[in-house]
């Protein structure tokens, strides 16, 4: 089968020592930030982006990818032990995982989280390998009109599946798009919205934006809330779940992996959505007797498998279509652009070693994470004891140095300061930053594609609807909006967000 030969080729790339090293670094850092509450993969990837400039594209992407799915592993550790989700996607794990810890079953909880994640990760790797090529081939046939509509659909889907008020999220997307338009307009050469500042000729810079909105404001909000933790450092005991546990969880892992793989591919999908959905689904579908919310091990197995599968399959739209499903993927696109690679379906044909190497590295990464997490739990626990007041200045330092080194401009540092203030105000008013970052990345591309589509159609906007694929995307976007606006589904969505 072609998939297998592609994977073998990828393994060949992934197994060279440099890529293995960077895979390890990524997984290690990912687990680290996953364990530490108050800093997540988005901020970490943003901080490391400037430093990937000196690397080749393959190790750079492999490392960044490792951070993302590694953080899913790490997040479950804190969720189970401290009832604080290290990652937003680990929130549901706290429900049953921490309860298990209270009942002295922290070890098996951690163990099943790691094992479920590993199995899900391996299967997700296969899913990517199998589905990505046909998808990319399809996308190569797209014209600008299709791309524009696809991006609209992607943004709407991302918003619909996200938290909070729908209208506010769309507004944040628009804000992001507008911010993305700051800088030189490629078509006309005009420098827009720069207020005469030459530093803004290249735009605001997504690194500064991501660090401000996901790093600094996150720290500030954490500082406002204060810290309260209760750590279960006593008796972790045996980290292996019993055979009984494995048998109970088998179908949960299968369901979680399946749901996670599916939801990860959707724009707006990824680890977060996958874990929530898997937990909800598991609650309804698992065989009684059920003890969800009180330490049912399936309540850990399902979401943990799902979040890993979702994290990995969310690479598919990014790698095949050049469309980010979530802020982390948006940053990955940024990493590609730093390397001078235009994201899109041509990446697979022009740089197959990058594409397949990255996919194969996920399998290696999952293996490393399984090994890292189970025996090293004790180490991660010690890290949790680091008080936040020592941690957050370090975050400031990384963010500021990182921002400066993108272009050696002090202006970028001032930019972070200003954007943090803006982000703080917006966040206080319940305006989520994630849709904004997606809009920022996609905005310029949307303008480009719309321009070209209008050029080809001689200014006829109806071309977006007369071309069938384009119409399908737009129709799907509208359908999603209408569906979510309907009271019944809205209630379901809010219920899901409440948990």
């Amino acid at each position: 089968m072609e998939t297998l030969s592609n994977l073998a080729f990828g393994l060949g790339v992934a197994l060279n020592w440099q890529n293995v090293l960077y895979c390890f670094i990524g997984c290690f850092l990912g687990t680290l930030v996953g364990v530490l509450p108050g800093i997540g993969p988005v901020a970490t990837v943003a901080m490391l982006l400037p430093f990937t400039f000196g690397l080749n594209p393959a190790p750079a992407l492999i490392m960044l990818a490792g951070i993302y799915y590694g953080a899913q592993y790490g997040g479950s550790t804190t969720a189970i032990l401290v009832n604080i989700p290290g990652e937003s996607s680990s929130v549901v794990t706290t429900l049953d995982g921490h309860q298990m810890a209270r009942r002295g079953r922290a070890g098996p909880a951690l163990g099943i989280a790691a094992i479920g994640s590993f199995i899900a990760g391996c299967i997700a790797t296969l899913v990517i390998a199998y589905f990505a090529p046909p998808l990319a081939e399809l996308a190569l046939k797209f014209s600008p009109a299709e791309y524009f509509s696809l991006m609209v659909f992607g943004l709407i889907a991302a918003v619909v599946l996200a938290r909070g008020s729908l209208v506010k999220a769309i507004a944040m997307v628009c804000f992001g798009i507008l911010l993305g338009l700051v800088g030189t307009d490629v078509n006309s050469g005009v420098i827009r919205f720069a207020f005469g500042a030459p530093e803004l000729a290249d735009g605001l810079g997504f690194v500064a934006l991501a660090m401000a909105f996901f790093g600094i404001t996150d720290v500030v909000l954490n500082l406002e809330h204060g810290e309260k933790q209760e750590v279960f450092t006593s008796r972790i005991g045996n980290v292996l779940p019993t055979l009984e546990d494995l048998r109970t969880c088998f179908w949960s892992i299968v369901r979680g992996t399946g749901l996670g793989s599916l939801l990860g591919i959707l724009p707006g999908g990824g680890a977060l959505l996958a874990s929530f959905a898997a937990y909800m689904f598991e609650k309804k579908v698992a065989k009684p007797p059920r003890a969800f919310g009180h330490g049912d091990i399936r309540g850990v197995a399902a979401p943990e498998s799902a979040n890993n599968a979702g994290a990995q399959t969310s690479f598919i739209p990014m790698l095949t279509l050049g469309i980010p499903s979530n802020p982390t993927m948006a940053l990955m696109i940024g990493a590609l652009m730093i390397q001078g690679i235009a994201p899109g379906p041509q990446v697979m044909t022009e740089r197959p070693e990058l594409f397949w190497g990255l996919i194969a590295s996920m399998w290696i990464g999952n293996l490393m994470l399984l090994v890292l997490n189970l025996p090293l739990v004790g180490l991660w626990i010690k890290l949790l004891a680091v008080p936040y007041r020592l941690l957050f200045p370090a975050i400031f330092v990384f963010c500021c140095i990182g921002a400066y080194t993108v272009d050696n401009k002090v202006f970028d540092v001032y930019e972070i300061a200003a954007l943090s203030a803006v982000g703080y105000v917006l966040l206080k008013l319940d305006c989520e930053p994630a849709p904004m970052v997606l809009g920022y990345i996609l905005g310029p591309m949307m303008e480009e594609n719309l321009r070209r589509a209008m050029m080809i159609s001689f200014g006829d906007p109806m071309v977006l609807i007369t071309r069938p694929i384009s119409a399908a995307f737009l129709f799907a976007a509208i359908a999603l909006l209408v569906a979510i606006a309907l009271p019944a589904l809205r209630a379901k969505r809010e219920e899901a967000m409440q948990e």
Binding site: F51, G54, S165, V167, K168, A171, C174, F175, L178, L181, D185, N187, S188, V190, R192, F193, I216, T217, V219, V220, L221, L223, E224, P387, R389, L390, F392, P393, A394, F396, V397, C400, I401, Y404, T405, N408, V410, V413, Y414, I416, A417, A418, S420, A421, Y424, V425, L426, K428, L429, D430, C431, G443, L450, R451, M454, M455, F458, G459, D460, P461
Partner: protein, 148 residues
């Protein structure tokens, strides 16, 4: 008419302001037509959409009950922003070592629990780490000392 959802009301206003701002600023550029879209076209379209959305959010704030504006704590955000700005200034005139020191020592005050001795130690650690990793290991062009 009473504002039943202050949080949403202000969010709506901010969006109207941002969208309107971009639309107004965009008018200095050529609009073009749908066939050949000028630099002003897309920002105008999106900005107008944002104004519309902001209007919807603000008007809904009169119709539906919602949360009131949460408390803005001045200290965490204020000190953080100040520390970052000072880092920028220090980096430009005094070099990395001074900049990191300033960032850590000032930034620490963003938290409620401040322990000066610990912060000095932390600053030292961060300086050592930054120099070792960013300058020596990664070879990034960061000035260590004041440039005169």
């Amino acid at each position: 008419m009473r504002i039943r959802s202050p949080k949403d009301f202000w969010a709506g206003l901010i969006f109207i302001a941002i969208g309107g701002g971009f639309v107004l600023l965009a008018q200095q550029y050529r609009l073009g037509d749908m066939h050949r879209m000028g630099p002003a076209m897309f920002p105008t379209l999106v900005g107008a959409l944002l104004v519309l959305l902001g209007l919807i959010i603000a008007l809904r704030a009169f119709a539906f009950d919602g949360e009131s504006v949460p408390r803005f704590y001045l200290r965490p955000i204020g000190v953080s922003v100040l520390a970052i700005v000072l880092f920028g200034v220090a980096l430009q005139w005094l070099g990395l070592i001074a900049a990191v020191a300033v960032l850590v020592l000032v930034g620490a005050y963003a938290a409620r629990d401040v322990r000066p001795l610990e912060n000095l130690a932390l600053a030292a650690v961060m300086i050592a780490f930054s120099v070792a990793v960013f300058v020596w290991l990664l070879g990034l062009p960061l000035p260590l000392w004041p440039t005169s």
